[in-house]
């Protein structure tokens, strides 16, 4: 039941952002990309979802742009 609720919540969220014309927001694009990992076969889906939403670079940035995180890497 717990997973069912979350799956429907994600579906409703994607419907909502589409109705609002926000489906091109980089966070929504990243979320859709991450969702592709849910139906893969290897049993490390959570790790791959997290990695797909992560900053893949390795060098420190010059200056912190603020304090918060958005949930997806903006590129």
């Amino acid at each position: 039941m717990d997973a069912r609720i979350k799956a429907i919540d994600i579906a409703a969220f994607l419907d909502r952002v589409q109705r609002a014309g926000q489906e091109d927001d980089y966070r929504v694009v990243a979320l859709r990309e991450a969702l592709n990992h849910l139906l893969e076969e290897d049993p490390d889906r959570a790790k791959r979802v997290l990695l797909s939403l992560s900053d893949p670079t390795d060098k420190p940035i010059p200056v912190a742009p603020g304090k918060g995180a958005a949930g997806a890497w903006s590129g």
Binding site: A46, L50, D58, P60, P62, G66, K67, A69
Partner: protein, 266 residues
Amino acid sequence: MRYIEPHAHMVSRTTDDYEKLITAGCEAVCEPAFWAGFDRASVEGFRDYYLQLTEYEPARAAKFGLPHYTWICLNPKEAEDLALAKDVLDIIPEFLDKPNVLGVGEIGLNKNSRNELEVLERHIEIAANRDELILVHTPHLEDKRKGTKLIIDALLNNPKVRPERVIIDHVEEHTIQLAMDKGFWAGMTLYPESKCTPARAVDMLELYGTNRIWMNCACDWGISDPLAVPKAIVEMRRRGHDQNVIDKVVYQNPHSFMSQCPKFQL
């Protein structure tokens, strides 16, 4: 059931949360220094905060018979101002000798900037030169993987750092192995919205084992749950984990790590 809450920001919590903790079986609470939700303007603001952590908060916890320990540092969210950071770093050693201070923490990175990294390296140097325990904060969400790698590199670059005296906190599925493979301890933070849920934390215990790992609630002024660890205990019981295994994760492990500081006495 007895447990230790190894990471809770009690200065942000109401007094009835102490009552909830002891009712749930908490036998000690440990409070790393953190960001207050706004930037402090001067070194005196930090001095007041460190006094709160080392004098006022242990007295508040003592009213409930709960031992209170703390960690001292400048949080990475306030590390961009290098001049202020240097002033704050200068007063940190005077607080490290206080009777309830276990070490330097929670240090680390937030947005993975150059200044944050420089301040992190200075904290590591202070801790390593005094052979203090280190509690590491890893960044949030999209910044966690990169930040965890940068932090581990910075720790290993200091030859005086002993990984068994460092806990890397807020690990998730994509960073837990980075910490544990290098011999560090790992902390899993149970948050309602970010970090990990009790179910995911128990998944990681089943996948990576119960050595050198703990769970914490990291409750603070945001959406957070001071009873998250007892809820993870319920999840472990539901899955049939032995009481001795649960006790190891929620009591013996934090006890073992923090007992490396002789000031930690239960």
